[in-house]
Amino acid sequence: MNAPVRTVPDADAPAIELVGIDKSFGPVHANKDIHLTVRRGTIHGVIGENGAGKSTLMSILYGFYQADRGEIRVGGRPIVIKDSQAAIAAGIGMVHQHFMLVENFTVLENVMLGAEGGAFLKTGIAKARAELKRLETEYALDVDPDAVIETLPVGRQQRVEILKALYRGADILILDEPTGVLTPAEADHLFRILRVLRDQGKTVILITHKLREIMAITDAVSVMRRGEMVATRTTAETTVEELAELMVGRRVLLKVDKGPAKPGPVALSVRNLTVRDHRGVTMVDDVSFDVRAGEIVGIAGVAGNGQSELLEALAGIRKPASGDILIEGKSTLGADPAMLRRRGLAHVPEDRHHMGLVLKFEEYENSILGYHDDPRFVRGPFLDIEAIRADARDKIAKYDIRPPNPRLKTANFSGGNQQKIVLAREIERDPTVLIIGQPTRGVDIGAIEFIHRRIVEMRDAGKAILLVSVELDEIRALADRVIVMFAGRVVGEKTPEASEQTLGLMMAGIGP
């Protein structure tokens, strides 16, 4: 659907044209001869697996990187974007995945930041306030300009980011994985805002890996794979299946194939658990539930509603304030993570970079993290390097970890392969209870399929599995029972067949 290239720059010229963009980082060819045309006044999706080159491409567009070759045209005119200032001047605004806001500033102050307009704030503030008011009414972006950022829910913080871009005169808005931190309701609201923006003539580029969002909101979609732009489609004329196949390069099973669960005795039991964070704020509030052998219990909820603290308490990393956790009927209070592992608990942490892996270690060193005391891997005070590497090679083969090199630094594996390193380590211990946080965060579709299958296999082998994920689709696909958490409390329990709307409302704290 390439729009015809016009000779005269005019209002009908595409908002953005990328012509033959090429970028390498050392040996990594991140963008190969990319051509992309985004028509004015449309919402254009860019999808691709992690490492496909989406972020690099958008960073080039926003001036974080310079392309090695190729041309960027905005409104038909070739321009050079050497930094983000130049991008802003060209009318390009960006909403980052991780917000770039000063937490203890007000909305107004954040919006003005970097565009104060003079050494004295007073005149700038008055102008900004008026402008903000206009933008808010024009685009239905209601945010109190005097609210302090840290008091706002994430959905509103995101609106501040959008306001920031608009305040700087952005005509083209790039959103990088914008729904990752939102509830379904907040995501819907965001989409409404994006539609308003489009109808007012703005151009929106939406980077995501969620196919459903692409289908729901975009007008056109471009698919990237391994640094190349493999296809551009009109959204109305394509299907989820086709896009998934384009992304991965082969047919993908989107649904998890699993039979009914055969729950056995209770393996993990949580009783009136209360957990506080380091500030003393109650993050998990009087939570009780059971997980039986041979079933997957999913914990749904928007990120930050106590799931992380619950997982940490279960894994022995965070001491509960009160309540009890029992594995096979015996309390685990006072047990540290090493003791819990010996009692048959395996833990795939939510954040593999922060917790699950030491990225600077070689792969084989991470393959024993937490199990480095195992007699199989040690000889007296020494590590049995040969035994560890042999074991790592086994796991690499079994989990198809690529590249199959146990001596490679872990940071040099892709997200999906890093996750497989963690999963292989935890699953291959044959645990009784497996707790998994965000099993497929930042993982390619191809690897997601594999990881989901392994989790179901573990269930069928009679393990008790607790699954925490902010991806509602994932919970519904994998879990046999769904527990919804909101503000540290269990709001209710549903079967995975419950409608997305029901679960979404519960995740927002509105009744079961």
Binding site: G26, G316, M355, V358, I385
Partner: protein, 372 residues
């Protein structure tokens, strides 16, 4: 292969880059020398012949290097646990007390080779003890180890002066130092490797401690890369959260690592106290604890790199002394400037040339491939 960062071959990272850094440091040092009106070429010549031109010069160079190997290893072990031990100076000072007590008591009755192991142990124990309190404060109170170890340097210095002036001094003598150790309390000089090459060690106090230092370098390598404890230390140092996840107790790691680090620093005292002056004197450490930081940085916290870096600093120390002797315009302070430049380029700015090298390195083969 998927690679987030462009990796460079090992010979570039560990060979070319340090050499390049060093070259730049010397280049700027040369400019400084030229600036004060002396010939850089002459200065280099004096420095190198002074440090490496004679048997005696080499003996002194290696004597200083021995100090720096110990303190460099001490800093490196702590680095691996993510701790910045600046207290090597004080720990070495206290280590001297341990070594001296052994030399004073056992040296009269035992031969040196029996005194030595006990002295090594006590030097290490005293050094470790001096690191214990900062370690404990860091582990349980979160008091920053940089602050506490540096404060303990001052406390250690004051304590040692007190002991030397009031307790250990020979009655009636003027100098604040112990009596000379008996023969059994002295570490013999290593003359035979020099005689092997027909060189003369002369007055240089190069002694058995050098061998102990090399043994420690091997042991540190084994500890860090081959033992469970080393694995736990590295995990804690590179990703503390992952270490806690793995059930590695943070407090214990901090304390154990600092004890090891302090012990290594303490052993440094063997060289000047039992190997050179045969008595305990005030301020015998002479900044070696701080040089150890530069040595560890430059040696990338790897024992082999530390041995090389320690020898380099040995050359700078010995050659620098000669330089200020033969070219009076180049004072002691100038030598410190040169050493500072080496630390700046080889330590603090160690990766300055990395991006440029990476570009050079990856562009060349790709251009060649494009032509083909």
């Amino acid at each position: 292969m998927s690679a987030a960062s462009a990796p460079l071959p090992r010979w570039v990272t560990y060979g070319l880059m340090p050499v390049l850094n060093l070259a730049v440091a010397f280049l700027i040092s040369g400019l400084v020398v030229a600036f004060i009106g002396e010939s850089p070429w002459e200065a280099v010549e004096v420095l190198l012949t002074g440090a490496l031109g004679t048997g005696e010069g080499i003996g002194y160079t290696l004597f200083y290097a021995t100090n720096f190997i110990f303190t460099g290893l001490a800093v490196a072990v702590a680095f691996h646990c993510g701790l910045f031990n600046i207290g090597g100076e004080g720990q070495a000072y206290l280590g001297g007390l341990g070594a001296a007590l052994v030399a004073l008591s056992l040296g009269d009755v035992l031969p040196w080779y029996l005194t030595m192991p006990v002295a090594v142990l006590f030097a290490a124990l005293f050094g470790a003890a001096w690191a214990l309190i900062p370690a404990w404060l860091q582990a349980s109170r979160g008091s920053h180890i940089v602050i506490t170890t540096i404060m303990f340097n001052f406390i250690g210095a004051a304590l040692m002066v007190y002991l030397l002036v009031n307790v250990l001094k020979v009655p009636g003598a003027m100098a604040p130092e112990t009596r000379v150790f008996a023969e059994g309390g002295q570490l013999p000089k290593l003359t035979w490797p020099f005689e092997l090459f027909g060189a003369k060690l002369g007055a240089a106090p190069f002694n058995v401690s050098f061998v102990i230092a090399l043994v420690m370098a091997v042991l540190v390598w084994l500890l860090i890369w081959r033992t469970r404890l080393g694995y736990e230390i590295r995990a804690t140092g590179t990703n503390p959260t992952a270490a806690i996840y793995a059930g590695i107790p943070y407090k214990r790691m901090v304390i154990v690592t600092m004890l090891l680090s302090g012990g290594l620093a303490g052993m440094m005292a063997l060289n000047p106290v039992m190997g050179a002056s045969a008595r305990l004197q005030v301020e015998f450490v002479g900044g070696a604890g701080f040089v150890g930081i530069a040595v560890a940085l430059m040696g990338r916290s790897h024992p082999l790199g530390i041995v090389f870096a320690a020898i380099l600093f040995g050359v700078l120390y010995q050659g620098g002394a000669e330089l200020s002797f033969w070219i009076p315009a180049i004072t002691r302070d100038m030598i410190v400037v040169i050493q500072g430049l080496v630390i700046l380029f080889a330590g603090a700015l160690e990766t300055m040339f990395r991006p440029a090298l990476a570009r050079l390195f990856w562009r060349a083969p790709r251009a060649a491939a494009a032509k083909a």
